[in-house]
């Protein structure tokens, strides 16, 4: 399939490239931080979409991979002295392996039972890390600031991290596009629509679901490491913010579950909204309430999300909005 000729492939890439270029062109660290937080959301939402949107399995534990990847990479860098590039690889692979084992165990469950199990996983992961002394236990880990000298000083290291974040974001978008239009993706969507019928047609549902889960676990792990590398410190409470799992679901639903572009728009849009709410005195302490209300409104009125709604409303846009 010649994906390079499809506008639906280029649109999300161009969007991310433009947003990514903005702080580079303006050479502004504040802009960079704003865009960084957007990119983290886009990576979380796009990767969750492979499980939630394509395969139809609701996971309340997506942030586990973010936290686990971050912790793995952080440990390798601070204790074992690895470079960020090598640590990034492990920050992707270790959560992927965790997802593989978890998938074998809990992807047998369907619907609400799977969702409930993922809540358990979320809590278990945080409790484990909190009590696991080699990784700092409840006080977490800190990076020695000297480590930034390997990357041209602290200021330069932050920019390098930002470039890496753009690269990871582009990677997750490309993967999510490739999966969407592959045979593997067709099998996932068949599972989403009717798992029993899919199995009768020969879709090996247990394997497909596990691989979808594994792929969706790689990218949050990598972006988690980059996020905490920037902060130079990691704490169990920050790495496993359970409400972020739910907010990621809101992002996917807002943009349009099952589409490539949807989670990108949803992630960016929700992140900007949250940014605005956090600096508004009235909403500062209740920004999660807004997330809840938003989710309610989406599910009630536009269950297909922004992109799904646009595709329904304007069929001519379907070629572009995928």
């Amino acid at each position: 399939m010649k994906i390079y000729t499809k506008p639906g492939f280029w649109l999300p890439i161009v969007l991310v490239a433009l947003v990514g270029l903005w702080p580079i062109i303006t050479d502004n660290a504040a802009n960079r931080e704003v865009v960084s937080s957007i990119l983290v959301s886009v990576v979380l939402a796009s990767s969750l979409n492979i499980l939630l949107g394509y395969t139809g399995y609701v996971s309340f534990g997506h942030i586990v991979f973010f936290g686990f990847g971050a912790y793995t990479g952080f440990y390798l860098m601070s204790v074992q002295g690895w470079s960020i590039y090598a640590a990034m690889i492990m920050a992707g692979l270790v959560p992927a392996f965790l997802a593989f084992l978890l998938g074998k165990a809990i992807l047998r469950l369907r619907g609400a039972y799977f969702a409930l199990a993922t809540i358990g996983v979320n809590e278990a992961a945080r409790a484990f890390i909190k009590n696991f002394e080699p990784m700092g236990g409840s006080v977490g880990m800190q990076l020695n600031f000297k480590i930034y000298n390997d990357y041209g000083g602290a200021a330069q290291a932050l920019w390098t991290t930002f470039y890496l974040m753009i690269a990871v974001t582009l990677a997750v978008i490309i993967v999510s596009y490739l999966v969407r239009f592959s045979k593997f993706g067709l099998g996932l969507m068949a599972i989403r629509e009717n798992e029993d019928a899919a199995e009768v047609m020969g879709v090996v549902a247990p394997d497909s679901k596990t691989w979808a889960y594994v792929i969706s676990a790689i990218f949050p792990g990598i972006v988690g490491l980059l996020f905490f590398f920037k902060n130079a410190t990691i704490l169990p409470g920050d790495a496993f913010r359970l409400h972020l799992s739910i907010e990621t679901i809101v992002m996917v639903m807002l943009g349009g579950a099952g589409t490539v572009l949807g989670p990108i728009l949803g992630g960016a849009g929700y992140q900007r909204l949250r940014g605005t709410l956090l600096v508004t005195p009235l909403f500062r302490n209740i920004q999660l309430v807004v997330a809840g209300v938003l989710l309610l409104i989406i599910i009630l009125f536009i269950p297909a999300g922004i992109v799904g709604w646009l595709r329904d409303r304007f069929p001519s846009l379907r070629r572009v909005l995928e």
């Binding site: 969507m189 068949a190 009768v200």
Partner: protein
């Protein structure tokens, strides 16, 4: 023998849905599976197809023991089925539905080839004008055809048809009967569950009659339709019984 069902029983709690069913099915035949409602016909399909594993007995497909194999293993070996209660993949287009069959069946095609096969099969079952529509927007008759198209796209060796004629009008039935005969011409072995007697009697090489989970008759359409046990089994439905009894005239 493409399919051998040996002494298969299935019970759900205290309910004996199938007891000691034995069928040998040679290649390129159409076997009509009939019986009153609740006789265990669909349960038998579910056992053959791997959805249930039998409480007792064995199922051999292509000479291999497949008792208790998962449905996707059987699909990959060349078995396909349609469902009595249609199971469309609602939010996928008709073409995508059919492509799933072609992609994941025995031949394991890639997307491009699967799309070509899907287009051929969709034309064959007469859904060509609906290709791009979502499956949820089809009417019941079209969904039945979609079921058939999905099964055919896998190019199966054995095809299980569960009441593909139900809910169709007489001219649609005639069309579907022709379609089924044409499929057999390609060398596909077929088992069809059917309540539309004149159709199943016309198209089948052999008929197998189930009642209360037990075999009560087996043979050519002519011999089965005159079997007193079969007529008795259908007496709850006098019209059908009469139809069977007078079929030879």
């Amino acid at each position: 023998m493409i399919l051998q069902i040996q002494n298969v029983s299935k019970n759900f709690g205290g309910l004996q849905a199938l007891s000691h069913v034995t069928i040998d099915l040679p290649e390129a035949q159409i076997l009509g599976l009939i019986g009153p409602n609740g006789a265990g016909k669909t349960t038998l399909f579910n056992v053959i197809n791997g959805i249930y594993s039998p409480s007792e007995g064995r199922v051999l497909f292509l000479g291999k023991d497949v008792t208790g194999s998962k449905p996707y293993r059987l699909a990959k070996m060349g078995m396909a089925r349609t469902h009595q209660i249609v199971q469309p993949l609602n939010e996928l287009s008709v073409r995508e539905n059919v492509m799933v069959g072609a992609c994941f069946g025995e031949e394991n095609h890639g997307m491009t080839r699967a799309a070509e096969i899907a287009d051929e099969v969709i034309d064959f079952v007469g859904l060509d004008e609906r290709k791009e529509q979502l499956a949820i927007n089809l009417n019941v008759a079209q969904k039945k055809r979609l079921e058939l198209a999905r099964a055919l796209a896998a190019r199966p060796k054995l095809l299980l048809l569960d009441e593909v004629l139900a809910g169709l009008n007489p001219s649609e039935i005639a069309g579907m009967v022709q379609t089924v005969a044409a499929i057999r011409e390609r060398g596909v072995t077929i088992i069809m569950i059917e309540h539309v007697m004149h159709a199943v009697m016309k198209v089948s090489d052999r008929i197998f009659v189930l009642d209360y989970g037990q075999q009560i008759a087996e043979g050519t359409p002519d011999s089965v339709s005159q079997d007193p046990k079969v007529i008795e089994a259908y007496l709850g439905d006098p019209k059908l019984a009469e139809e069977i009894a007078t079929r030879t005239n």
